[in-house]
């Protein structure tokens, strides 16, 4: 799908419109995540943000990562959040004590960070256009194998160039698994 989209030159306009819509939704949802007074609602707003991030990956033609985003974040992480909320306390309606006393400080920090980051980004990258050239250079395999070549290229780099980080990640996951069980079990 993404391949078809990328091939057409008229891709830019609809893609930009899609991006704009998604960006508005995501930012609004992200703001709701950190301001809503209902914990479950926060988790559900988070779903909107994470889903939007996944769709952004699709726009960036990172199909495999997008699917992983859906599978891991929406299918597992948010569910875990909801689980955590419901196992501890899941009040219907609003709770008033979700924020601490440094709300103003938080706003200042957020705006400050945003200003610094935006300044740096605008100054460094200006109006650079996305060319996707790295994909086509890096994935010679992609064109040879066709439709799903990019997925294959990713797997080749995971199990080739990045094998050691991959193994380290797997060990980390195992450690986290054991750690979570040790922490959460009752005795």
């Amino acid at each position: 799908m993404t391949g078809v989209l990328a091939a057409s030159t008229s891709f830019a306009v609809p893609a930009n419109v899609a991006f704009a819509v998604m960006a508005v939704f995501m930012v609004a949802a992200a703001v709701r995540v950190v301001t809503t007074k209902n914990v479950v609602h926060a988790a559900l707003w988070l779903v909107v943000v994470l889903g939007g991030v996944g769709l952004n990956y699709l726009l960036l033609q990172a199909e495999f990562v997008a699917m992983t985003q859906f599978l891991v974040y929406l299918g597992a992480v948010v569910v875990l959040f909801l689980f955590g909320i419901m196992l501890t306390r899941a009040p219907l309606g609003v709770s008033d004590d979700l924020d601490n006393s440094q709300r103003r400080l938080g706003v200042v920090i957020g705006v400050l960070l945003l200003a610094v980051l935006s300044f740096a980004l605008v100054r460094s990258f200006g109006a650079d256009k996305l060319t996707f050239e790295a994909y086509d250079q890096g994935a010679e395999v992609a064109r040879a194998v066709g439709e799903n070549g990019r997925t294959q290229a990713i797997s080749d780099s995971i199990f080739g160039e990045y094998l050691i980080p991959f193994e380290v990640t797997s060990v980390l996951l195992l450690a986290a698994l054991i750690g979570a069980i040790v922490l959460a079990r009752k005795d």
Binding site: V27, V34, A62, A76, L98, I109, G126, A180
Partner: protein, 98 residues
């Protein structure tokens, strides 16, 4: 599409996430804010990977895996706090021993 539109979106999400981490009292909500930050970083990685090769995507995958592990452990800790104190407010956790 511009590179910067993704990067700026990511910057906004990042800042909102930081706000959440600083302001939210509920442990689960803090973890959610951290997820916002991590996702902002991932958008960056993917956006840059269109320039500099698949390494960015691979590391985005690693970040997702590590984030999942982090949530698992983090929620286990929140659960433990809840079990001990009947509350998940982390600003009451200012003692050096439990």
């Amino acid at each position: 599409m511009l590179l910067n539109q993704f990067l700026l979106l990511s910057a906004v999400l990042f800042s909102i996430g930081v706000y959440g981490v600083v302001v939210r009292k509920n442990g689960v909500l803090v973890l959610m804010s951290i997820e916002l930050i991590l996702n902002a970083v991932n958008i960056n990685l993917i956006a840059f990977s269109t320039f500099w090769g698949l390494g960015g995507q691979v590391f985005a995958l690693f970040v997702i895996a590590v984030a999942a592990a982090e949530v698992g452990v983090g929620l286990a800790i929140v659960l433990l706090i809840y079990r001990n104190r009947r509350s998940v407010d982390i600003d009451t956790l200012d003692e050096l021993k439990g």
